[in-house]
């Protein structure tokens, strides 16, 4: 069930084109620049079918707002989860603070300044903070709202643990992210995100492949979906649970704390925000959430990919709007003690 969001729903259909317009050129340019770093890592091909010495199960940890409410790390530890843990770079701080070293971290967004913040930005200035309040507003990891302290903490955490972390790094990643990953000694596995169907004439994806010979992966619009794809499409896990994959906001989240607040105001005006945001009722939780066109797009394409996946997908987020056919919406505990993990 969904309501309002009349304009937001119309925008969902344009998200694929808008995304490609915004990140396509930057991603490919980053791939060109990153060519000089490829030999500092390995090809993702080295992880193909690699169980990482873990069971047939994987848990994806993304950084949605439910992550802290569900106590994912505590449950993984207390139920002695023996599968692979695949985390978004945005969930790295959460994992490390909870004493969990993910088996694989994934990063792909080409943004020049924002993504490196999840790694600790050695060059972060007060001026940067004045120019971009994304992290101080955002609803994912509240610790990042105290930005300088969080940055210092992240620098320290990765300086200490980086050498023990395996990262699947997309060639689209920014110079800052690549340098930071290498500087802290991460074990880098390179791959190309798909930009288009490689079998089409003049395909950007195929052209990248011919230049760097790195595997190309359909990243599904966002890093959380890419983690899920890594878990089954690369590591070959048969049972993949996702956590922190809300693709939405809790009903009591102020609009100001959403990722596209300023854009929403520019498009519809403060008085019409109800038309931009889409309200969705989650029948598994008997609870309302609201979402924006980008998250709604993520949800739709995830459902499309899940229908075609060679794994069983469990959504253990215990929140949010990712439910539908081919998704087992269960509590994390049920997954961890269930048949799949035995």
């Amino acid at each position: 069930m969904q309501s309002d969001g009349e304009i937001g729903l119309k925008l969902v259909d344009g998200m694929a084109a808008i995304t490609l317009d915004r990140i396509g050129k930057e991603g490919v340019e980053n791939a060109e620049k990153n060519q000089r770093y490829i030999d500092k890592g390995k090809s993702l091909r080295n992880l193909r079918g690699n169980s990482l010495d873990k069971s047939d199960c994987a848990v994806v940890i993304a950084a949605g707002p439910s992550l802290h409410r569900v106590n994912v790390a505590t449950q993984l530890k207390s139920y002695r989860f023996d599968g692979a843990i695949v985390a978004t770079e945005s969930a790295m701080r959460y994992c490390l603070k909870q004493g969990i070293i993910p088996d694989l971290v994934v990063s792909l967004d080409p943004h020049a300044k924002r993504i490196v913040r999840w790694f600790g930005d050695p060059d972060l200035t007060v001026e940067d903070l004045k120019q971009d309040d994304y992290f101080s507003r955002q609803d994912m990891d509240q610790a990042f709202s105290d930005e300088l302290r969080a940055n210092d903490e992240m620098l320290e955490l990765l300086d200490k643990h980086g050498k023990n972390i395996r990262i699947a790094l997309a060639t689209s990643a920014s110079d800052a992210v690549v340098k930071r990953s290498l500087e802290v000694g991460m074990d880098v596995y390179w791959w190309n995100p798909m930009y288009d169907d490689p079998s089409t004439p003049n395909s950007v994806t195929m052209s990248l492949y011919k230049k760097n010979a790195l595997p190309c992966l359909n990243a599904g619009g966002n890093v959380g979906a890419a983690c899920w794809m890594m878990a089954h499409g690369v590591l070959g896990k048969r049972h993949v649970a996702v956590t922190g994959m809300d693709f939405s906001y809790y009903a009591d989240t102020p609009h100001k704390n959403t990722q596209y607040y300023y854009e929403a105001i520019a498009l519809v005006g403060e008085e019409n925000l109800e038309k931009f945001f889409i309200k969705i009722f989650n029948p598994h939780l008997n609870q309302w959430f609201y979402t924006d066109p980008a998250y709604m797009w993520y949800r739709n394409i995830f459902l499309e990919m899940a229908a075609d996946a060679e794994c069983t997908t469990y959504n253990c987020t215990e929140g949010g709007i990712l439910f539908g056919e081919n998704i087992n919406f269960v509590k994390l505990k049920e997954f961890l003690v269930g048949e799949a993990c035995r």
Binding site: R22, G221, L267
Partner: protein
């Protein structure tokens, strides 16, 4: 604006500003906002992982 900002010089090459008369400043503002929406990376329907090109596969 031209009534307020005036220079005491003459340009050798006069600047001609081409404006689309059909586009209002509000529409331009919306267009810019739209450009900033979107996801982190592309999505390609019906694709998973491409390990090799079809030709490479054939040669294996």
């Amino acid at each position: 604006m031209a009534n307020v900002l005036k220079g005491n010089y003459t340009l050798n090459n006069p600047v001609v500003i081409e404006q689309d008369k059909d586009v209002t400043p509000e529409q331009l503002f919306e267009k810019e906002a739209l450009k900033r929406l979107g996801g982190s990376i592309a999505f390609v329907a019906k694709q998973k992982v491409m390990w090799d090109t079809p030709e490479e596969k054939e040669n294996k």
